[in-house]
Symmetry: C2
Subunit: 215 residues, 2 copies
Amino acid sequence: MVQLLKVQNFNVSGDGFGAGVDQSFERPFGHIDPSSMFAWCGATASWPNRTEPGGTRGLDDYFTRDFSHNIGAEIMGRNKFSPHRGPWRDHEWQGWWGDEPPFHTPVFVMTHHERPSFTLSDTTFHFIAADPVTVASRAKEAAAGKDVRLGGGAATIRQFLDADLVDTLHVAVSPDVEIGSGSRLWKSPDELDDRFHHEVVPSPSGVTHHLFWRR
Amino acid sequence: MVQLLKVQNFNVSGDGFGAGVDQSFERPFGHIDPSSMFAWCGATASWPNRTEPGGTRGLDDYFTRDFSHNIGAEIMGRNKFSPHRGPWRDHEWQGWWGDEPPFHTPVFVMTHHERPSFTLSDTTFHFIAADPVTVASRAKEAAAGKDVRLGGGAATIRQFLDADLVDTLHVAVSPDVEIGSGSRLWKSPDELDDRFHHEVVPSPSGVTHHLFWRR
């Protein structure tokens, strides 16, 4: 089996932003409220944070339940892990996700500021000050033959794309959401077409799924 | 978790047939050659019978790799298991799938003609002369909390639909294939709309995925 490095269920606005500017503890996605961008997965039966039974079982549910399929590790950027910038003042911050993070695998946080690893439930966070090639190698080793999810944000995905380390991408575009400034994945999804096959799948929910895999 | 009874990756022609007439050992799908109906999944990277690396990783690959996701048992009709009709003359026939059947779970064959269970690799076939309610109950018990796949053929799916036992369906329609007579799932996919939500998702490969879940 080929071991893939995959972007999965990454949400961007119609103008290609994954988050706005001025990220803070109160506003993890910056100046914008991204809830409409995530509505498509929250509506599905397989959404892990679902508190009531029900939910849709159409196309969007396939993407939601595929999130953890054969995934053995996640890579994320510092800004996905934390609203803090610069050196850690302390190690109290343990991510946005509470005592039960949704990853259930080792997570490798790419950062200029290392700190000790720690474990919450079945997720262990590691902090690595290294280039994407090194981080990908560490994550693939930890994944033990399974695939590695590249969780974002947009700037981190761009770095891995620039290093030609990404095998597949699934990006959900909310055509009606405009962010204008912040963390941008692309000006247009067609930017990747020279290197990737590219399928565009509109969902009945209104979101458009873009699927890429290497040529 | 709800335990579902699911139809997955069931292929029909544009006129709604899963197979033609005069099934035989040489022609498991009767008078028609169904290979064009199955081409969409055979082209994907996740196709289990793939002999060479490569394959597409777009929309169709999601459906292909979802085939075994959280499945703990399969139910099939006698005519999916075997081209023989009537009482078994002997027990030599062990299905179409060789020594490594693609199910990897208990399989319950609904038939008027019981015979002893047998095991090939990690698949055990059981033969049950009972109504759909009883067969569903046996399969759900064997699935131990996981979902049950209803594998077909079309007549068997119809029986389970008539008994209101089906929770979700994924049916891949090949619009350009006409079969004309044989084992028919529906005259039109809209027949199920009174009982199911129904999404229609055209794939770039040419096949149209129909997704149903209970209202």
